[in-house]
């Protein structure tokens, strides 16, 4: 009998820690965009306002924050008109929260597919991140429109060169959310208890980022911890690039890159190691 020395693939109980197969991922690139397309089409089927919801969601939240935190609690907005202050924070935060939420439930939501067909599982979280990135791009357009309305009315809008960093900031947020979501997805797949807990922690986490208050409110002794959160430089740099030119907090930005890199790598490695084993426990 002819002996094939080299097999093209192998299935065994042992799964190496670093097994992300980029060539395979490339083979499935059409699937990534297909999922994005599916989510875009499906999310606004049978809604009256359709895609307008992409705009309405951040506007509603911003309005609520405006009432509660600005009018009632009277928290400083660093001299920026409150509505303009909350809007970018809200947009970035909801992008982050949506990405984490979608990613962490990857296994539960897609169990019906994962039980029938093989493809690199990481495709699902990647496509959800892309879907939400599509949404945030539209929302940022909305932000630009609101900004120009304010500028025309004579409010202080000072664009600085830091605006060029916005895409980097969004990618940083995406990587942070993806990494965190992947880690949580692996942990919550086995223990549903953690699912409820993470929902709660995620809500709390919003207050650990300068979404509804400026970073300048943070006491000095908590400053380092506060800035360790990658979302802090993201939101702060975003705001300052439009309204209040601050010097770029370069150290903190680099630190965010490092934190995000560690979280993302951990997430991907863990997810790849466990993606198939998890299907036995779901």
């Amino acid at each position: 009998m002819e002996k094939n020395a080299g097999w093209q693939w192998e299935i065994s109980a042992h799964r190496p820690w670093f097994s992300l197969n980029l060539r395979e991922l490339f083979h499935y690139k059409d699937l990534i965009f297909r999922f994005v397309r599916r989510d875009i089409i499906a999310s606004y089927q049978q809604t009256i306002l359709g895609p307008i919801w992409v705009f309405l969601q951040p506007l509603f939240s911003t309005f609520v924050y405006f009432i509660i935190f600005s009018r009632v609690a009277k928290i400083s907005t660093d001299g920026i008109p409150p509505f303009l202050f909350y809007l970018p924070g809200t947009i970035i935060w909801s992008y982050f929260a949506d990405c984490v939420n979608a990613t962490m439930n990857t296994f539960q939501i897609n169990a019906y597919i994962f039980n029938k067909v093989y493809f690199p599982r990481i495709i699902v979280p990647l496509s959800t991140i892309l879907f939400h990135s599509f949404r945030i791009s539209i929302q940022l357009l909305l932000f630009l429109i609101v900004c120009s309305i304010y500028a025309v009315k004579g409010n202080p809008v000072h664009l600085s060169w830091q605006v060029l960093l916005v895409p980097v900031l969004i990618i940083l947020t995406a990587c942070f959310a993806l990494g965190g979501g992947l880690i949580i997805s692996v942990l919550t797949a086995k223990y549903r208890d953690l699912d409820n807990m993470t929902q709660f922690l995620l809500r709390l986490f919003m207050f650990a980022a300068p979404v509804v208050y400026p970073a300048s409110l943070i006491p000095l002794k908590f400053k380092f911890i506060f800035w360790l959160n990658p979302l802090t430089p993201v939101i702060e740099i975003f705001r300052s690039s439009f309204f209040k030119p601050h010097p770029l907090p370069i150290m903190y930005l680099l630190l965010s890159f490092l934190t995000t890199f560690i979280i993302l790598t951990t997430g991907i490695v863990l997810f790849n190691k466990k993606e198939i084993q998890i299907m036995d426990v779901i």
Binding site: E2, N4, S12, R34, V117, D280, V281
Partner: protein, 415 residues
């Protein structure tokens, strides 16, 4: 000899039933605590001891261009093996090596989204199954032609009838073009006409296109029609592997073992009580094929013998109950009341062919005194499996209903 495309070595799969997944963090921590700190203590909770080997030391290979059939009863481990080959679950031990792209059809229409149109779903499902967009573009016309739903291509599939849905789904699957195809028979669903189309397509993929196929079924007829080699699984173990005809004979023996009755005459204590002692119970099928498999046409006779003992003369009646495997009582038969002398009593009954539908059944016997008092109940003393029988060219699907009588139904027309 042809090139090997898949080689499986020592595949085993271990499951802990009722433990994984259903356990909360608290229970796992408790378990870990018990396991690490109190090693001497066995887990007290019997639930955590329910462990099974779904597969044990499976070895086989598949050569280029051959169709390997995988046959076994429910729970034999077919689906587990299929899932391992499809990379949906990992083996506990062992290794499968292979060459070429595998496509697994464990289901048709995986990932179909109700809100999307037929057209969108063709692409979505195709991509999920590992096709590239270009490939689907190329085969798109063929796919819609095969499905016969071209008029509804731009309608969301949630508005489709279930028949249309399955047609569209199978059409995508039928146009996958992998080197190795793994097919679960259950996917041939839908109306009779379409099922035939599915099976014909599967046959043509194997015979004309020379594809390598791993085909799973629990039906002997289908395996014989489609496969040139077969692998028989029973309770997770390999029972036979070889050319279809010889292997099927051992599969038949396997099913025969399951339904043979019990002869207790050599036992020290016969099952029963002071009034009734069972000597033997048996089911004797009148086989119609050389494989000795009970199919829906097979006449069955049931014989039993017991020792009867009563203090005073009383009427005795035996009730024979036939249950579906799910526990549903299909029917019961009662012997006429009669006063017997103490001693051996024989009983005989029959279930004609063309009466029971295919499926698993079991029989229980009740011994009743004076039509009111139950003396003894011999629970599930016989069990048997009725296989479907299909003439070539007939409906491939599952017949509905509990019974399946061959009553006449004829049509005529005045000239």
């Amino acid at each position: 000899m042809a090139k090997k495309l898949i080689e499986a070595e020592n595949i085993s799969k271990y499951y802990r039933l009722g433990v994984l997944g259903s356990r909360s963090l608290k229970e796992d921590l408790k378990h870990w605590w018990a396991g690490n700190l109190k090693k001497s203590l066995e887990p007290t909770d019997p639930e955590s001891r329910r462990e099974i080997w779904a597969l044990r030391d499976i070895n086989f290979f598949v050569q280029q261009g051959e169709v390997l059939g995988l046959i076994g009863k429910n729970g034999a481990g077919k689906s587990t093996l299929l899932k391992i080959i499809s990379r949906i679950t990992l083996p506990t031990t062992g290794r499968i090596s292979g060459n070429g792209r595998i496509a697994s059809l464990l289901e048709v229409g995986t990932g179909f989204h109700g809100e999307l149109t037929g057209r969108e779903n063709i692409y979505l499902n195709g991509n999920i199954m590992g096709m590239k967009k270009k490939e689907i573009d190329r085969k798109f016309d063929e796919i819609i032609e095969f499905s016969g739903v071209s008029r509804f291509l731009d309608t969301p599939v949630k508005r489709y009838s279930s028949g249309m849905y399955v047609r569209l789904a199978f059409s995508v699957a039928a146009h996958l073009d992998p080197e190795i195809l793994v097919i679960d028979e259950v996917l041939a669903v839908g109306d009779a006409e379409f099922q035939q189309k599915c099976m014909a397509k599967i046959k043509s993929i194997s015979k004309e296109e020379g594809k390598t196929i791993l085909f799973v079924s629990h039906n002997i007829q289908t395996i014989r029609n489609v496969c040139n080699r077969a692998l028989v699984l029973d309770k997770g173990k390999m029972v036979a592997l070889g050319d279809t005809e010889s292997v099927l004979a051992s599969y038949a023996k396997l099913s025969r073992d399951q339904l043979l009755g019990n002869d207790f005459s050599q036992q020290a204590v016969l099952p029963g009580n002071d009034n009734i002692r069972i000597i033997r119970v048996e089911l004797i099928p009148k086989y119609l094929n050389q494989f000795h498999v009970i199919d829906i046409r097979t006449d069955l006779s049931i014989r039993f013998e017991f020792i009867y003992h009563a203090e005073e003369a009383e009427d005795l009646m035996v009730i024979l109950q036939v249950f579906k495997n799910s526990g549903e009582l299909i029917f019961e038969l009662a012997s006429p009341d009669h006063t017997f002398k103490n001693g051996r009593v024989k009983g005989e009954s029959a279930i004609p062919g063309n009466f029971l539908n295919d499926g698993l059944y079991y029989i229980s016997l009740a011994f009743v005194k004076n039509s009111t008092t139950r003396l003894f109940y011999f629970d599930s003393c016989l069990s048997f499996d009725v296989e479907d029988y299909k003439d070539s060219g007939s409906n491939y699907g599952k017949w509905s209903g509990i019974v399946r009588p061959a009553f006449p139904l004829n049509l005529s027309q005045e000239q």
